[in-house]
């Protein structure tokens, strides 16, 4: 079974975020980056499916040169090869533009299964996988917590609200968006890191894909959220702040 996993490189969680001078994105120069969290789970799921059913795992990533690091990590964890759609200006694109690039790179691969994360930590659109499936004309399902392959079909467990779930069966090829927590992540081994250096990374440009990531939606401005609620911040060292909080809970909230 041939599985393609879409991984995005995003700023490390808890990065200090500052708005760029353009006002239209964040200042990226002083940040570190990592694989988007649900994408790491999607990769792990692909690796486990390969271990069970055989085949190949191909990682695909659209991003600037720095994204090569995320690709190396995916290869070190066990992906067999990778496709890097390299461009420095993808931040100006939108999900349809990115999905068109991914579709262009994935289509010639003819995979049986495409896994994406359910949502990116930075843009948080939660839709690139769904759009990719539409562009490729294949079925999809979202927020997936379990994947069973049986012959030419898959049965997946889809998460619903409030602790509900649902099983769905659909024919392959298909696209699934994977939820964090579906499995336990592995670490790259030293051997894996060594091997990654010998694995194939195919670099493609926008011209190769013959796709213009023209945006139908544009981010006009990025800014810190306006505060609407008056939070009482209790100042002082840990002791003092804790004592003040207990006083508030006792005399204002009246719960102690």
């Amino acid at each position: 079974m041939k599985i393609v996993v879409a991984i995005k490189q995003v700023p490390v969680r808890d990065s200090p975020l500052r708005v760029a001078a353009s006002g239209k994105w964040i200042q990226e120069s002083d940040l570190s980056f990592e694989i988007n969290e649900p994408d790491a789970y999607a990769l792990e799921e692909a690796l486990q499916l390969k271990e069970k059913h055989g085949g190949e795992v191909v990682a695909v990533c659209a991003g600037p040169a720095r994204a090569a690091q995320a690709i190396r990590e995916a290869l070190a964890k066990g992906a067999d090869r990778a496709i890097h759609i390299e461009d420095e200006n993808l931040a100006e694109s939108d999900t349809l533009g990115i999905a068109r690039l991914l579709a262009g790179a994935v289509k010639p691969e003819n995979p049986d299964l495409i896994l994406t994360g359910l949502q990116s930590d930075d843009l948080g659109y939660g839709q690139t996988g769904v759009v990719l499936a539409e562009l490729l004309g294949i079925p999809h399902s979202t927020i997936i917590m379990q994947v069973e392959v049986s012959g030419a079909a898959i049965r997946v467990k889809r998460e619903l609200e409030d602790g509900w779930f649902q099983h769905i069966t659909m024919p392959l090829p298909a696209t699934l968006t994977i939820q964090s927590g579906i499995n336990k992540l592995r670490y790259a081994t030293l051997m894996g890191i060594k091997r990654a250096k010998t694995k194939e990374v195919k670099r493609v440009t926008l011209a190769d894909l013959d796709a213009v990531p023209a945006a139908t939606t544009v981010i006009e401005k990025v800014y810190a959220p306006e505060k609407s609620k008056q939070t009482q911040i209790l100042e002082g060292d840990a002791r003092t702040a804790a004592a003040r909080l207990v006083e508030k809970l006792k005399f204002e909230a009246r719960v102690l």
Binding site: R13, D14, L17, D94, L96, A99, D122, L123, G124, Y125, G126, Q127, V130, V131, E134, L135, P139, H140, S141, T142, R158, E161, D162, G163, W164, F165, Q166, H167, I168, T169, M170, P171, G181, A215, T216, T217, V218, E220, K221, V222, Y223, A224, P225, K227, T231, Q232, I233, L234, A238, R239, A241, A242, A243, L245, V246, L249, K250, A253, V255, L256
Partner: protein
Amino acid sequence: MSILAVLEQQGGVWNRMSWETLAAGQQIGAAQGTPVEAAVIGHRIGALAAEAATKKVAKVHAVEHELLEAYTADGFTAALEALVRKRAPTLVLFPHTYQVRDFAPKLAARLGTVLISDVIAVRSGPLWVRQLFQGKLNCDVRAGGPCSFVSLQAGAWRADSLEAGSAEVEKFTPALDASMIRQKPELPFRESARAVDLTAAELIVSVGRGIREKENIPVVEELAKALGAELAASRPICDAGWLPMERQVGSSGQTVAPKVYFAIGISGAIQHLVGMKGAKTIVAINKDANAPIFEVADYGIVGDLFEVVPALVEEVKKAKS
């Protein structure tokens, strides 16, 4: 020019967020001078459509077909594509539910555009306000093209501002056949009866990824014990198995409304907030003064939880003795 508000029901029961979406449609429509129509999708939905028609809308479309009885992405996309092509609205609004996440991006893509998802407000333009980086920043998005597709975050518009009225219901039967629908859904289920019912708890101490590792859980357990509170957690803590799933608060966990909710080392992503916004008093302890959790907190301490929580345990014990 018209606005189409897509309402959500499941097995004849409304998703409450539908009314927020319709209220948003009414407000945006009033500001633009644009009529608002509503759509209900399913099978045997006459009563629901009639109920929607008691709101102030220009028309209610009852999109009915036996193949729409159970939700599928393929079926709902095809049905709404047909309705949107027929009515040619300039704006289609959805509640940002799990179901909408599953099909609305596909619908928008089929019509050559992008769903502007999880919107929290609108400014004149229109510019749609949405969150980036799990609520740490906001952005204004401008849509291009003849029709915009927008899904609205839970709680961003208030259902209680919904205006009443009286509208006509128009039945719309999309041309569907079974071969178009590739997903075969089974009945929804719950994993098991919940051993822990957090909904009845008066005090909840909830812990997030700021706790760093499983071995540190006793730090917050101590506080829960001192307060006589239930222990709860954000999703990553339960995903990692540091606390059982049944203690998870949020959109995919429990919805709680205690007297006091202590959010400790929790950033305040919307999927967590929807599960605890109803608490009477919210206390946040976080080392990042800009964490979105402070947006909903009544009291906050900006600091290292490993210093603040033990100090708090001492103070609580003192106050109780």
